[in-house]
C-alpha cells in the first residue's frame, strides 16, 4: 500500500547526499531552498557540501533549476506517473521494455544510472512540485512518488516531501487534521466532519454549484479558478477577507480588509515540513487581523439560533465495513 515517508528539512540539510527535485523549479519558486536546506549546505556528515551531494532535476522543460542540477532528466509532458511507475518496477529488478522507457522521454542507460544512484546513496530525498501534483493524474502522481520513496527504504534511507507553495497552506492542512481528522475537502453538514475530495473540494463544489454561500480568506479564487467556479461565486453571497481588494473581493457581497500575516499581523505559520514558526510583524496595520475578524464573525454567528434544532441529532453516515 505504500505510505508517506518524510522528514524535516534539517535532516535533508544534514544527511541527504542524493536530492531529486521532480516537477518543481526551486530556483525561481523557492529561491532559498538550495542554499538553506539542500544542496549548498555543509554538515558534519557531508562536510564538502555541494561536492558531497548529487542533485537530479526531473521536469518537462529545462528550467533555471536545471543549471543547479548534476543530472537533468526531461520527462515527456504527462508521463510522470508512467516514469515513476517504471522506476518502482526497476528498483525491484522487474523488466521494462526499451520502447516503454522511451515513451517517457528516458533511456534505459539513464534510468539504470538513476536507479543505481538511488540505491547506492546513503540518504535520498524526492521533493515534488506542482509540475507533478497539478498535472494529469494529480494526487496519484504525488502518491506514486511517495510510494517509490517508501519502497526505496528496502535498499537505503529515502524520503519524499511536497514543495508546498502559498505561504501557510501547510498550517491549514495540519490544523484541519488535528481538529477534524482530515486535511481538506471536508463537510460538517451532519454536525461532524466527513471527508471526500472530489465531492467536498472547492473547485468541484463551485463548478457543480453545490454551495449557497462562500467565505473566502487568504486566497483569490476569483483570479485563479475555472470560469464556471468563478461564476458560481458571483451568483451566491460571497464574503472575502484579504489585505487587498482582490478579484474575489470585486465579485463578493462583503469584503473586509485585514492586516497581512507576518507583515502586520502576528501569529504562526507552518513550513512545508510541518514545523511551526512564529511570525514577527514589523508594521502596525490600520486593519484588524484575519484572526480577529473571523472570531468576531463566529461570535456573531454564535448569537443566532443554532442550526441544529434542539434535541435533534443528525444521522451519522458511517462506513460499512
Amino acid at each position: 500500500m505504500g505510505g508517506k515517508v518524510t522528514c524535516t528539512l534539517g535532516e535533508v540539510k544534514q544527511r541527504a547526499d542524493f536530492i531529486v527535485y521532480w516537477g518543481g523549479n526551486p530556483a525561481e519558486c523557492h529561491p532559498r531552498h538550495f542554499t538553506k536546506y539542500t544542496i549548498m549546505q555543509k554538515s558534519k556528515f557531508l562536510p564538502r557540501g555541494r561536492k558531497d551531494r548529487t542533485m537530479v532535476l526531473v521536469d518537462i522543460r529545462e528550467t533555471k533549476s536545471a543549471k543547479a542540477a548534476d543530472i537533468f532528466l526531461q520527462v515527456k509532458p504527462g508521463k510522470d506517473f508512467e516514469l515513476i511507475t517504471i522506476l518502482r518496477a526497476l528498483i525491484k529488478d522487474q523488466h521494462v521494455g526499451d520502447e516503454q522507457i522511451a515513451e517517457t522521454g528516458m533511456t534505459r542507460a539513464g534510468l539504470d544510472d538513476l536507479v543505481h544512484r538511488m540505491k547506492s546513496c546513503k540518504f535520498g530525498v524526492f521533493f515534488f512540485g506542482m509540475g507533478l501534483s497539478m498535472t494529469r493524474g494529480k494526487h496519484m502522481n504525488s502518491a506514486a512518488l511517495l510510494t517509490l520513496a517508501a519502497e526505496m527504504n528496502a535498499f537505503t534511507k529515502f524520503v519524499a516531501m511536497p514543495m508546498r507553495g502559498h505561504g501557510n497552506v501547510t498550517g491549514a492542512d495540519v490544523i484541519m487534521r488535528w481538529q477534524t481528522g482530515y486535511p481538506f475537502g471536508i463537510t460538517f453538514n451532519r454536525g461532524y466532519p466527513r471527508y471526500n475530495p472530489g465531492e467536498f473540494s472547492t473547485v468541484d463544489v463551485l463548478v457543480r454549484g453545490d454551495c449557497d454561500a462562500a467565505f473566502i480568506i487568504g486566497a483569490d479564487p476569483g483570479a485563479t479558478m475555472p470560469q464556471p467556479a468563478i461564476d458560481h461565486l458571483a451568483r451566491i453571497p460571497t464574503i472575502c477577507l484579504d489585505p487587498h481588494v482582490t478579484h474575489t473581493s470585486r465579485l463578493a457581497r462583503v469584503h473586509i480588509t485585514t492586516a497581512a500575516q507576518g507583515i502586520s499581523a502576528p501569529g504562526t505559520a507552518y513550513r512545508m515540513d510541518e514545523l511551526p514558526l512564529p511570525l514577527k510583524p514589523a508594521l502596525k496595520s490600520p486593519y484588524p487581523s484575519d484572526e480577529e475578524v473571523v472570531r468576531r464573525i463566529n461570535e456573531a454567528i454564535a448569537k443566532k439560533p443554532f442550526w441544529l434544532p434542539d434535541g435533534s441529532q443528525p444521522q451519522v453516515v458511517t462506513a460499512i465495513g
Partner: protein
C-alpha cells in the same frame, strides 16, 4: 462548590479502601474539609475513584497528526461527536481528533494525560494541539535519547554539559520530563540501521553505547530533580527474545529512579517469531525486587489500531510484515517516528502472546503502585478501551474465557492461564490513578485528600465491569461536573504541567553554534514561548 455524599471511596493515596466518605470541593476546584451551600450529589451506593491518570499516551503532535492523515477509513467508521451550540465536533477512533480526545478521556473518568513523546522541534505544534484537547490536564515528555547534540556531549564524556543541554531543551520545549526511546537506535535508523545491543557502540559514534546513554540520562533526570524520572522505551522493542535486552537495560539503571514504558513490548522470550513466548515472569520478578522502578503495561487488545512510535526501525519492520500503509517522519537532530496501521488478531500467535503478556505483567507485578494501566495508546489498542482491560484484570473467569479462544499452540508460551489473581477496586484505583500520579510526581492528582485537585469519577456499581468503567455516572474535573449520565456537560480548558530546570547560563551560547550547524530554523525562534501554553502550571526546579 460541590458536596458528594454517601459514596464508597477508593483513594489509595490516603489508604481509603471503600469506606463511605463525604467529599467537599471549594470554588477553586480543590478538596476541602467542608463547604456550605452549592450542589450536593448523593452518591449512596456508588463508587468513587480519583480521576484517571494516563502515564503514557500519544494524543498530540506531529506523529499523531500524521496518523490522523493516514487513517481516513477509520474516521469514517468511528464514533462521531456531533457539534452542539457550545461544543466542537470531533471523531474518535484509533487516532481521535483533539476535541474528541478530551471527550473520550473524560468520558471514561480520566482527567490527566501525559503525552509521552514530543520532539522539541514539534513542541510548539504539540502544545497547540494540547490546547485543543479539552477537559483533561496535560503534561508532555521530551524525546532526548537520540538528540545528537546531547549524544555528542556524552560521547565526549562531558556529563555536566550533557545535563545542561537536557535542561535547556526541557525548558525550550516547555516540557515536564525526559523520554528516552530506543537510545541510540533512532539516531542509527537515520542511516537505515538500529541499536539492539546495549554495549555495542551506536552507528556514527566511537564508544557511546545505548547502555551508557541509559545510565547517563537517568542520572541527569535524578540530578535535575525532575518530578518524573527518566521515562524509558527500551531498545529492541517488540523482538522475540528481547527480555535479555530489557533486563540488561534495567541493570544499567541500578540505583536510579526510572519509569519503563509499555513493558509488554519488552518482555518476550524465544529466538524468532516462531518460538516467541512470554518472558513476563522474569521481568515481573525484577520489578518485585526493585521498587525504584515503575512501569506501564502497554497492554494489547485485539482489533484494529494504528501504531505510532519514535522507534522508526521497528515501524519499518512492521510495515514489511504487514504490507500495509507506512508513514515515517524523521526530525532533524532529535528523533523520528513511524506510523503503521495494524490489526491484532487472536488467531495470530505473536499477537496472542502480546495480549497475554500485557495482562501477565499487570498481574505478576505485585504492587499496583509499580505497574499502571496503559495500552501505549494507540499502539497496543485505543485508550478508550481501558475498561476492557480492567475487566480482564478483575475477572479471572472472563480471562479464562478469552484464553480459551486463543490458538492451541499458545500453551507453554504464556503463563496467564496459571494466574488466578483478580484486581480489587482498590488496586484498579491505584493502577489507573494514584500510582501513575505518584510516578509522575503530580501529588495533587490521583488523590482525594484535602488540598488536592478535585478530579474524581463516580461509578454506578455494576456486574459488567467493562460497562461500569466505560459509563461513569459523574466525572468531576477541578470541581466542575463535566460528565453526567453519559452526557458531556462542560468542556473546560485544562492546565499544562511543565518544569523549569536550571542550567548554566552559558548553555545558550554553547548551544547556538551547535544548533545552527544542524537545525534549519533560527536559534532564537526555537524555544516555545511560555505565552503559547494554555494555563501553564510551572514547577521551578531547584538549582544544581
Amino acid at each position: 462548590m460541590l458536596k458528594i455524599t454517601g459514596g464508597k471511596v477508593y483513594d489509595p493515596a490516603n489508604e481509603i479502601n471503600g469506606q463511605i466518605k463525604d467529599l467537599c470541593i471549594d470554588d477553586n476546584g480543590r478538596f476541602v474539609e467542608s463547604v456550605s451551600g452549592g450542589r450536593t450529589i448523593d452518591a449512596t451506593g456508588m463508587i468513587i475513584f480519583p480521576g484517571g491518570v494516563d502515564v503514557h499516551t500519544h494524543v498530540a503532535g506531529g506523529a499523531m497528526n500524521f496518523a490522523r492523515a493516514m487513517t481516513p477509513e477509520d474516521h469514517r467508521r468511528t464514533q462521531a461527536f456531533i457539534r452542539t451550540q457550545s461544543r466542537r465536533s470531533g471523531l474518535g477512533g484509533m487516532a481521535p481528533t483533539t476535541f474528541a480526545t478530551g471527550y473520550l478521556y473524560a468520558g471514561m473518568g480520566f482527567t490527566t494525560v501525559n503525552e509521552a513523546a514530543v520532539p522539541v522541534l514539534s513542541a510548539r505544534h504539540t502544545h497547540e494541539e494540547l490546547a485543543d484537547i479539552p477537559i483533561v490536564d496535560k503534561a508532555t515528555l521530551t524525546l532526548m535519547a537520540n538528540n545528537e547534540i546531547m549524544l555528542d556531549q556524552m560521547q565526549a564524556g562531558e556529563y555536566e554539559r550533557a545535563k545542561n543541554v537536557v535542561a535547556w531543551y526541557l525548558w525550550a520545549a516547555k516540557s515536564y520530563g525526559v523520554k528516552a526511546v530506543n537510545p541510540g537506535g533512532v539516531a542509527a535508523w537515520k542511516w537505515g540501521s538500529d541499536a539492539k545491543q546495549l554495549n555495542d557502540p551506536i552507528a556514527g559514534y566511537s564508544s557511546l553505547t545505548p547502555g551508557k546513554i541509559v545510565t547517563m540520562l537517568a542520572t541527569i533526570c535524578d540530578d535535575l530533580q525532575l518530578p518524573h524520572p527518566m521515562h524509558l522505551h527500551c531498545n529492541n522493542l517488540g523482538a522475540p527474545g528481547n527480555i535479555s535486552t530489557t533486563l540488561d537495560t534495567l541493570k544499567h539503571l541500578e540505583g536510579h529512579r526510572a519509569h519503563i514504558a509499555h513493558s509488554q513490548y519488552h518482555a518476550y522470550g524465544g529466538d524468532d517469531w516462531d518460538t516467541m513466548c512470554s518472558a513476563t515472569s522474569q521481568l515481573a520478578e525484577y520489578f518485585n525486587t526493585h521498587p525504584n522502578i515503575t512501569t506501564d503495561a502497554g497492554a494489547v487488545l485485539f482489533g484494529d489500531t494504528v501504531t505510532i512510535t519514535a522507534d522508526g526501525p521497528w515501524q519499518h519492520l512492521l510495515y514489511k510484515l504487514t504490507g500495509r500503509k507506512w508513514g515515517n517522519l524523521d526530525v532533524e537532530n532529535e528523533t523520528g517516528c513511524g506510523i503503521v496501521p495494524y490489526t491484532y488478531r487472536p488467531s495470530n500467535l505473536v499477537n496472542a502472546v502480546q495480549w497475554a503478556s500485557g495482562l501477565e505483567l499487570m498481574l505478576l507485578i505485585k504492587s499496583p503502585w509499580q505497574v499502571f494501566l496503559s495500552t501505549d495508546h494507540p499502539n497496543g489498542g485505543c485508550f478508550w478501551r481501558y475498561p476492557e482491560i480492567i475487566q480482564l484484570l478483575m475477572c479471572a473467569d472472563f480471562r479464562k474465557e478469552c484464553i480459551a479462544k486463543l490458538p492451541d499452540k499458545i500453551k507453554n508460551r504464556i503463563t496467564l492461564p496459571e494466574i488466578d489473581r483478580e484486581y480489587t477496586l482498590y488496586e484498579v484505583a491505584t493502577s489507573m490513578s494514584a500510582g501513575p500520579a505518584r510516578a509522575l510526581g503530580l501529588h495533587q492528582k490521583g488523590n482525594l485528600g484535602i488540598g488536592c485537585d478535585a478530579d474524581l469519577v463516580i461509578y454506578e456499581e455494576e456486574i459488567d465491569i467493562a460497562r461500569m468503567f466505560s459509563h461513569p455516572r459523574y466525572v468531576i474535573k477541578a470541581g466542575e461536573i463535566v460528565i453526567e449520565d453519559g452526557d458531556i456537560r462542560e468542556t473546560p480548558h485544562g492546565r499544562e504541567f511543565l518544569v523549569k530546570p536550571s542550567y548554566a547560563p552559558e548553555t545558550d551560547e554553547f548551544m547556538r553554534p551547535l544548533f545552527e550547524d544542524c537545525y534549519t530554523m533560527q536559534f532564537d525562534n526555537y524555544p516555545v514561548e511560555i505565552e503559547r501554553i494554555e494555563n501553564p502550571d510551572v514547577r521551578i526546579l531547584p538549582g544544581s
